[in-house]
Symmetry: C2
Subunit: 224 residues, 2 copies
Amino acid sequence: MKEFINRVQQDGKVDTTYSKVRECLRRDILSNYFAPGTRLKIAELIKLYNVSQMPIREALQQLQGEGLIIIEPHKGAYVRELDEKFVSNIYDIRRIIEVFLTLESLKKVTDRDIKKLFQTQKNYEKASVKRDVESMLKCNSQFHTTLYQLADNDEALHIIEKHSQLINSLRLSYGFEGNRVEEVIVEHREILEAISLRDEKLLEKAATSHCLNAKANLLAAMKN
Amino acid sequence: MKEFINRVQQDGKVDTTYSKVRECLRRDILSNYFAPGTRLKIAELIKLYNVSQMPIREALQQLQGEGLIIIEPHKGAYVRELDEKFVSNIYDIRRIIEVFLTLESLKKVTDRDIKKLFQTQKNYEKASVKRDVESMLKCNSQFHTTLYQLADNDEALHIIEKHSQLINSLRLSYGFEGNRVEEVIVEHREILEAISLRDEKLLEKAATSHCLNAKANLLAAMKN
DNA sequence: AAGTGGTCTAGACCACCTT
DNA sequence: AGGTGGTCTAGACCACTTA
């Protein structure tokens, strides 16, 4: 574990030290190098990442904001328990916000937006045939982002995005993405159809079950 | 403005410096001493609060987590615009989460819980007769907390609480709490009745309009 | 090219938990 | 009382902006 921080330094971008520490820490927590419950001692992290206190504290603060760790004043930080209850709670919050955003979007959506959504969906299906996972993740994220941006509620979007990286990491680490490809395609088509028909009730149903299925799928994978 | 930080140091509790700075900053932002858009320069805040960089940066990080300020790497922090759009967005998020929590609570609520809710409501009404604003705020918060805790979703509760202080401060600074006392009493009674009847549809309606009314009321006050 | 201001380092300080 | 480890200070460093 003598790897230096620079393992996250992508392309030529200039980043702050604390953002690099944050990404390293996130990775090390999600990869289970720091298991849930582990105390994150600053002195330890200083040696591990080769930086001094301040960037570490900043990174810890930010990760606390994401709910990944918990900081107790004068006592220190520890990795939060990522158990089924927590995942279930997060998915429930995501569901109600996502359904809300989807329905709000319906009020604003234009025919042009719908065309774009169909195009994204087509790209997703093409990528799925080629088993191009990276492209699939990108299309999936684009599909939802395009839709949600129409709702014009940055604060809600922010909550969704804050947990996205965590959820995506969990999904990958339980390696279950493969077996829901067909389902996701069908569910996205249902959402698209409801939007095209501008049918609010139908859309609510489609969006709700899309979210509930994702939740059930991850929880089932976690049971092993 | 040579006031020292200790103006927030309540009772005998030992607090960290950064938490005191955070509360001071929050107050100074919400009181409009730091107007929206203002750049919060660390050097300035050092002189103002008589502390050094670190506690200030920690406080800024935390306030960014609450959405009160925005930090741009290598550029600095500035106070976020608290316009009607922002308030409207926050209230929309709160509404869907609060309705969700309320409905989840209904699944778990016992007769004993219902009794406690009635008691809290009675206390609220007593306080309102005496115009005891502090006691009213306390009962109001207790009413919702008692209910929401039954839903057993700490993450959702956390989102609600994160924005509560902000919303409460805005309410106070627009000084409109007084003219909604009777409405709040009626609305809480409706919610209580729906819970007693264990009528989900009725409860959803009551909780939704409770939230929508609060939103409309604050937005109307902000228009002046 | 100089100035401003955010970022990082090193070490002192002090709260909390043991013995 | 001593040790551990989080918190705070002072100053160096360096990214970004203006002229």
